[in-house]
């Protein structure tokens, strides 16, 4: 059974870490990556330093078991995105 990509970005359906040039970092299932935005499904995010945890600490924790779906659909402006990588490749 193939994947239903429907012409979307190659990371469609993959759980990714989206880092930004600000304090926010996001983890969610990639829906699409377009010229102007990254669209995530079932995402959660973290602000650097919240709860005493930096971005990297939070991502390492997320890499163990995943994240709770706090945002059904989340749009991150592409201009703010510094990297998109697979969560499975963390740790």
């Amino acid at each position: 059974m193939g994947t239903f990509h429907h012409g979307k970005h190659e990371l469609h359906g993959i759980t990714v870490v989206v880092d930004t040039d600000g304090p926010e970092i996001w983890v969610g299932r990639c829906d699409d990556i377009l010229d102007d935005k990254v669209i995530l499904r079932d995402a959660d995010g973290h602000r650097d330093g919240d709860g005493g945890h930096g971005k990297q600490q939070w991502v390492e924790r997320a890499s163990k078991f995943g994240v709770w779906a706090k945002h059904k659909r989340l749009v991150v402006p592409r201009a703010r995105v510094t990297s998109v990588r697979r969560l499975g490749e963390v740790g």
Binding site: M1, G2, T3, F4, H12, G13, I14, T15, S63, F65, G66, V67, W68, A69, R86, L87, G88
Partner: protein, 143 residues
């Protein structure tokens, strides 16, 4: 909304033909957990997702064929058998839901969990290797 039963039938059968018990209700899940509390048990959360489930199912099958086998093996189908899946996830409430995924229990305690993002982008052989290692570790056999 669940997919057509016709669409998911081969995805169910890919596991059931390998002797994996399908749990369709919350009662099935509770009964299976009770019955499996005396040994090792693998619970596979099956899924339509082609990104990961397409490798998860053959990975499970290969692990069961090639290594020490858990005493009990069962599956629920996320997005299809909603009640059973919720009951299964209730056995590991601190772990965010993901599908496909796999939970390995020993003596009724969760000792290993393979979430979806650890399956995505990997081969069936790699998934099988992870599982074989866990099965061997908890059955006292060297992988």
């Amino acid at each position: 909304m669940p997919y057509s039963p016709l669409l998911v039938k081969p995805m169910r059968e890919e596991l059931t033909v390998a002797g994996i018990q399908e749990l369709l209700t919350a009662e099935d899940v509770d009964r299976w957990m009770d019955e499996s509390s005396d040994g090792t048990a693998l619970l596979v959360v099956n899924s339509v997702c082609g990104c990961a489930a397409g490798m998860a199912r053959p990975g499970v099958r290969a692990a069961l064929e090639n290594g020490p086998r858990p005493d009990h093996v069962a599956t629920v189908f996320a997005g299809q058998d909603l009640e059973a899946t919720a009951a299964a996830r209730g056995k590991f409430p601190d772990i965010p839901p993901s599908s496909p995924s796999m939970a390995f229990f020993k003596g009724g305690e969760l000792v290993f969990f393979l979430p979806r993002h650890r399956i995505e982008g990997r081969s069936a052989e790699e998934v099988a290797s992870d599982l074989t290692t866990v099965f061997a570790e908890h059955s006292g056999v060297t992988a």
